[in-house]
Symmetry: D3
Subunit: 208 residues, 6 copies
């Protein structure tokens, strides 16, 4: 028996992170596969638990909505495990604007309320849109433009999971209007009118 | 313009499934990467929506619990997209017995009630266990033994997402006692007493 | 010797597609990993050669540009090999509008002329833009919004390779304005003015 | 010629680890893809050779068996190469108890003696069991419960290879009974009787 | 209980191949990820067992050696499981000539005798060579040129496992001299003398 | 609005490398998935641009050819993005000798001149060879022996892209003759005559 125990100790002394999990050292440099692993001896159950999604995000903002993420930066325990999660809060008239996740697919589960959600295919620009009720699920394939809006008169809450610990989030309006991309280039590459561009740059804090 | 439109039509006429999605033909043979794709022209938004998780599973059974899956077999739209989802219903005293998912990691989100959940590492057999409240999240790394039990006096509901469209589910008790594995082999390889094995084979319908 | 030859014949009689290549049967259903393989015995060198990129695309269109793809749908030999290629033609004032490739990263090589290219990060919406000359290379990370415009007075030609045989192409303007997505939903999720939306729907053939 | 040689030197000066191999720095933190690479200049042929599997493991223990691993922790040369290996020694009546490898599939090659091996599917809990002789091979799919027992009267020796440098090993009995998992939780989630649990906790050093 | 059993039946009715295994339909077309799956109901334990490696290959040939493969074409059970295996027989003076496996890394385990094995790095063309005894293991990184020769006076036997079900095998001499590649092209691209080329084409059955 | 901006800052403060890109720290140790990431704050557009391919490589050498790589070692921006690129210059009679890329597939685009290119399958040693003109493309599957020779009377230029940031390059002649592999072993494993081996070792600087 002792020998066996000894052998197992030997086999697994330093292997946990690879065989089982790899809790992220967020300060580390990271690699294409994710963050470096914390030593298993330093890992506790709390690294695998995230408690931030129980409270509603603050929706007093222009989109009447909030996204509360539990991606690897907030939830180091998912590093290397191929998924992550976030909470959506949509006040009445709340909107999660058109966006993509460059790194993964998304599954929306409606916890409360009514949400109209949709995505657009890259091939034929087909729109797939549906109004979902409590308990309904919709999948958004990786990298495609999609959106969610509150379809009811009360608050709506959704839980979204992703096929990557760090799926990324690119909101088209922020990408176009919340930076210093020159209006000239932006107008050339989006066919948007100068007035429209200037107006939204102002709202979203863009320059140029 | 016409040429462009024409070009895009040409480029993407048959490529949707690969670039965007691959809704499963469940009757097809399947491959190591998943099921064959339905032709994009035959795909509608309803292939990306699953409505079965809004209703509670029936928990009047020996575990006082139910699992309602939206894996690729129930939800063909997730084929090839790297994730799937299921609903857990735990009546008071409800238990999801010790099990593993050979094909993926799991994220539990507590929708309602209190759930005590845990997993066991393969390396040092360390137990990571925690009681979770509404809105809490816990991650269970791929392939490791884990469990969930109702920790309150009321019903508990969880939503679990997986890093694979078909994660599999191996419940240790079912693997040991719900088939024709000979009691002799089973006792030799589990150290369980003959009486214990016979008793559980009876409960779970095993033979041999 | 004979035996050896015989053994090799035996070993590899039917394995080519897996070990070496998997030329696509485009009519087949496809799977998440790509198209089914043509039988090696039916494969010739011409399946690995694409001759369509030698001629300029027709740029007499509203963007003064053309994309000529050699993705798996045009070039079945790249199926399963992790890359594909396309030719860009940019007449003076030519523009490849803002777009993403949901399925892969892109490398641009400037064959002729001057091209201003850029992409926008999802994290901080940082713009990475540069004017490239003949022989310069720029990489665009998977799934991020990017664009290319002719920066000179003559034609510009680029060759772009992708990290996937079927990277997909989602042009933001086509996704927004070239389909039946309702103006109301579009305006809600993009903050664009009704006049702007109507105007571009007209140009790009959208309805709703 | 010199130029060529110079170019190659330039090209590959620091690339070996990525293009060819990545011998593990075991003291490093590791990442989801494995351990950091030792500098190629510090690598010798001995990093690619493991000499520990020539000697029989000590089988004087309760299972009359021993596992001698050459996983990445013992054999740093396999880091990032997608496989590893181990030696099984089974004295008469020797048993490798029910276990899983969360990280990979396994191939057993019988070097000597007779071994009865089996695995259980997750889907229908089907048992696949067979008695193997010298030179026979059996494959155990990733993550599924499996076992090996000596089926003869003499020593049996097996070599097992894995589809991962660090497949992990979770022995059900050790996961259940060799730690501080509370008997109450264990009994609830396994349906095992209290007496059985207490008995095996005693044998395997568990508490709680 | 019944409900549970019913639910599991529902969940897993058609999912085995994906969650657990995918035994190859060798007559099927195959895909980049491997062959199509046989229906689980048609699968038996014999699909996971290969019995051909117990007998020595016939080494009465010019290399005094034989390779007996259990790749996916011979052993359909490994399809999609990320590994395969083969037996090497080396009579005295036996040689496995310089070769690569385009699809995977290799682990050699010496069952009997003495084998000198080596590989050459792509970066700096460094030779890693060692003489191995019974029970020794050596790893050969994916795609690199390597060889094995009998280093003793008796037969040597090795078992080699691969990180892919269909690793492929490209023997340099067969690639150069056992086909119709024109001597002119071959000499230009290998710097070999015409006499040498003609001589080996004759031995290995090449033309042109 | 402020809250939203704040949230995004929070979400993405340290996530860029994972979600978007991972510019290589070349001095870092590296991992099986590539080099460590530079901090996004230290990254500029120039990390995504490579300007070295605009000038012809020096072809005054024994092969009358030159390879100018933009692999991850020269072009850190491609780290983790699944592709890389290089320029081929072939003077009249120029030759890129028989070689493999252990880590990836290759796409050749002919920018100028005429190139005869070919590869050899591992299965049946079938030769796939073709003479390509300006604008033609040919794909070379991962790990297979291939070559390119100038088929015209003028300079030929090609651009080759790869399905990996660090595909590696193993030139058979360099692997055989440009190191200290003993002539005896080399002759045994290649069937080449001693005179031929000695001659080429002399040309390519080999010893032993």
């Amino acid at each position: 028996m002792l020998l066996i125990v000894f052998l197992f100790a030997l086999i697994f002394s330093s292997s946990s992170h690879a065989a089982d999990f790899c809790v992220a050292k967020l300060k580390g440099a990271g690699s294409p596969a994710g963050y470096s692993c914390r030593m298993p001896s330093r890992v506790t159950v709390d690294d695998f638990v995230f408690t931030g999604l129980g409270v509603a995000g603050n929706t007093t903002n222009i989109i009447n909505a909030a996204v509360t993420p539990a991606f690897v930066q907030q939830f180091p325990g998912v590093n290397g495990l191929g998924l992550s999660i976030a909470r959506l809060d949509l006040a009445p008239a709340g909107v999660i604007p058109m966006h993509t996740h460059p790194g993964g697919s998304e599954l929306l589960y409606v916890v409360e309320g009514k949400i109209t959600a949709g995505f657009i295919s890259s091939s034929a620009n087909v729109v797939y849109v549906k109004t979902l009720g409590k308990g309904d699920v919709m999948v958004f394939p990786r990298g495609l433009l999609h959106f969610q809006v509150n379809a009811g008169e009360n608050n709506a809450v959704g839980v979204v999971s992703f096929s990557d610990p760090d799926p990324g989030l690119q909101i088209t309006d922020f990408a176009f209007f919340a930076n210093d991309l020159s209006s000239e280039l932006l107008e050339k590459t989006t066919f948007l009118d100068d007035a429209q561009v200037k107006k939204l740059k102002k709202v979203l804090g863009g320059t140029g």
